[in-house]
């Protein structure tokens, strides 16, 4: 930790010389600010940060970061990021992706990166729409959404990001809102410190093609009553007047009002993000308005072995006792014969 003092950065140190080209009012601007802020709090030298992205509006992100960056191809950021991290576990590797990039064309890489638990931080910008291609529905679009390619409404069920992460044996899942820079910054710091794949779903607003899609939950007037910010070790309480909470009722979560039917804070569930059994975390990740508040904060954060570390350990163990130490050893190993 002595290093912490060595790297004194301000968010400005992470801004590149490129002009930010997202639409005015786009939620991406706030995400960029929160990430730049979070990086100053990590005590990691700037040259170790590497941002990898796929394709989509959010995937322009690396160009705006004064770090190493690689803007990839559609859906493949998780694979590229895995390669970078496995090659050099010393790097702090961040993947920037969207709902189409990660869950449609890149679904396969997304679940497998999570399954392997490669230590990368995946920020998934979820605006429930394809923005860069100008307004087609995405795998997270609500059923029935009218878009350019679903003029009569979609007829397919959306993915829930958290459900998919947990289903893929994910060990870290958090959710935040683009405009909430304070919460987002805390979450990015926590994700960076977590060893293993961290997935952060950002409820992000596309001001052009799906404007206000999250407002019903995240709007200034309603957000306190329709979201709950989970904190490890604290009771699950929410509401403008902090008068609501969550309890376990049989096998389901239930919203209760403090003071009603003798319910006090002691009856509320205490959030345990570190519990390896994902049962309650799974229910929390899947809470939808209006039945429930939408869960924000770190929902699941469980320790586990990381892929890149296990690879290095295996190599180290094998090399300890290996007879073959270099190419000349290999070339002359096994059956050979001499022609004089």
């Amino acid at each position: 930790m002595a290093e912490l003092n060595t790297f004194q950065y301000t968010p400005k140190d992470f801004k590149s010389d490129q002009e930010v080209r997202w639409c005015p009012g786009c939620g991406d601007h706030a995400v960029l600010n929160a990430v730049q802020k979070a990086l100053t709090e990590l005590g990691i030298p700037k040259e170790k940060f590497t941002f990898i992205s796929g394709i989509g509006c959010s995937s322009r992100f690396p160009y705006y970061m004064n770090t190493y960056g690689f803007h990839g191809i559609h859906g493949r950021a998780a694979a590229i990021a895995s390669g970078v991290k496995i090659a050099n576990p010393e790097l702090s590797v961040w993947e920037i992706t969207g709902d189409g990039d990660a869950l449609a064309i890149g679904g396969n890489h997304f679940i497998h990166a999570i399954r392997r638990n490669v230590d990368i931080n995946i920020i998934l910008f979820n605006n429930e729409i394809y923005g860069l291609t100008k307004g087609q529905y995405s795998p997270t679009s609500e059923k029935g959404l009218v878009t350019k390619t679903s003029p009569f409404g979609t007829v397919e069920e959306p993915f829930s990001v958290g459900e998919l992460v947990i289903g893929a044996k994910g060990k870290f899942f958090a959710r935040t809102v683009d405009a909430n820079v304070t919460l987002s910054t805390q979450i990015y710091v926590e994700a960076a410190n977590h060893k293993g794949t961290s997935v952060i779903e950002v409820l992000q607003n596309c001001v052009i093609f799906n404007d206000g899609i999250h407002d019903v939950v995240t709007g200034r007037e309603v957000r306190d009553d329709r979201t709950i910010i989970l904190k490890h070790g604290e009771p699950m309480k929410f509401g403008k007047d902090s008068d609501k909470g969550l309890v376990l009722d049989g096998l389901k979560l239930r919203v209760v009002r403090l003071g009603e039917n003798g319910i006090t804070e002691k009856n509320l569930l205490i959030h345990d993000a570190h519990e390896s059994n994902p049962g309650i975390q799974y229910m929390l990740a899947n809470m939808r308005y209006p039945e429930y508040p939408v869960a924000l904060g770190v929902i699941r954060s469980v320790e586990g072995n990381t892929y890149e570390t296990d690879v290095e350990k295996q190599i180290e163990n094998i090399q300890k006792d290996a007879k073959i130490k270099c190419m000349d050893d290999l070339l002359t190993s096994g059956s050979t014969w001499k022609v004089e």
Binding site: Y68, G83, S335
Partner: protein, 626 residues
Amino acid sequence: MQSSLKVNLISIMAKNSQVIKREEVVIRFSGDSGDGMQLTGTLFSDTAALYGNDLSTFPDYPAEIRAPQGTVGGVSGFQVHMGHSEINTPGDYADVLVAMNPAAIKANARWVRPGGTIIFDKDNFTDKNIEKAGYQSNPIAEEKLDNYNIIAAPISSMVKEALKDFGLEPKSVLRTKNMFALGMVYWLFSRKLKYTEQYFDKKFVKRPEIAEANKVALRSGYYYAETIEALNPVIKIEPAQNAKGTYRNICGNVATSWGFLAAAEKAGLKVFIGSYPITPASGILEEMAARKDLGVKSFQAEDEIAGICTALGASFAGYLAVTSTSGPGLALKSEAIGLAVMAELPIVIVNVQRGGPSTGLPTKTEQTDLMQAIFGRNGECPVVVIAASAPADCFHFAYEAAKIALEHMTPVLLLSDSYLANSSEPWKIPEMSELPEIKPPFADKKEIPFLPYKRNCETLARSWAIPGTPGLEHRIGGLEKTLRGTVSYGPENHEMMVKLRADKVARVADKIPDLSVFGEKSGDLLVVGWGGSQGYLMTAVRELQAEGYKISLVNFNYINPLPKNVREIFSKFKKIIVAELNMGQFADYLRIKYQEFSYQQINKIQGLPFTINEIKEKCINILEEN
């Protein structure tokens, strides 16, 4: 059983075996895909190699791991061509065919030299198996093989007898049939059993009874062959007159893997391979995965695309990055190859070609991915394309591919094929100190601000700045950029960058060797080949030269860019014929590049290598025209 056989034999040996010397011989082992023919062939060729013969092998197996027993579709073969002089191909026609069942006769009868020797397991020629193979009652008669040297050996019953005291399951006993057959062949070519016996001792170190059973079956076959007169005379092939040095047997896939490992060591880099299993390329991923002793990071990806994308990530992070695949997988990797072209990162993509299109003939050989390799991407997207031409030279061309990728900051596509991948031949082991230097253009740490697309004046390669290096932070990606690395949609900038990338690849021609001519530098006919057909073409051309024809051969390894002396060579011949295992892809490529010449073609699309005779016939026809 064993000792009584021995006694029997000693008396027979007194009858004296006539020994004849031959220059070369082809042996084909053939049976059900569960009969262990690949192992039998491999053990035979290892013994031949250790004896000092030059040789070439070719496994020919069905895609199904266990196709229906006894059917022609389930026949698995392994051909070995060994000789006293230089051997370039696994041979067209077998002098000796070992057939473990009637289906093996059905599949191979046409590939046995007239009058050749056929050894078969007569216990396995039951009515049911004969019918399954598609015969009425007598495969030998129906194939008109009566004039051949037919040895109907009761292999199944002999191994049962030989192993009766071992207490093994009947299944395990019958599994040693292949060793009995191998023993017979060893006697036929007066080979020692010791290498194969050592193999079993090592392989079954924890199950000595299995090792012993296989050794007894092997010896029983050897003694049985000695006992029966049918196998006389014994054929003797003297060791080949190879150049001095230390040799080993190596197949194309292992040679390819080792070429990358050698290049990485030379360049002072670590190796990353990201691949998805696919026939016939999996052997490369398997060999690399086994090389943890040399620090290889091997990654079995969730699909072909993740294979190349993880490799590209590793390349960005400063590794020698490799991805290996076969035709269908190359199609899936196309977009990521485009990204590598745009990001100007070093990576080698190995395509072990197989019969296509689509799933095609997964276990058979073809050269049908040439156009895909050269052109198969969106946009103006040139990559360096190199083709290996023999199992052992896969090492050299993998090394060269890595060297070019690293020094020129470009993707390199290395073409191998199913035949090269699985065939093996003796290889004179190089010493690492003999191999050329590899010097990647790492960015100078003082180059701040680092401009990612600034180029070396000579090679046009950009510099390689590795994440983790302070001060060299930069962004690359698939969008068009200026030389400074800024995203740009500018029309003139795009045209300039497209031309720079093309020029960078074209300039690799300055570093590759001239094409060499096998034979006279002028003449009536120039045979042109590329990649894996070299051995067949060389053998055919050598024979035609000996017959007095003015014929020569060039075989291309560097496909893009082409060597600089092509035009000069082509202009010295009256006619040019391009021979390849496809419909004429290289011929068409040459028609684009060198329009002033006229090209005739020899093509074959049967999933099989050429035969010497079909090349010779076509060449003679052309030579004797007008």
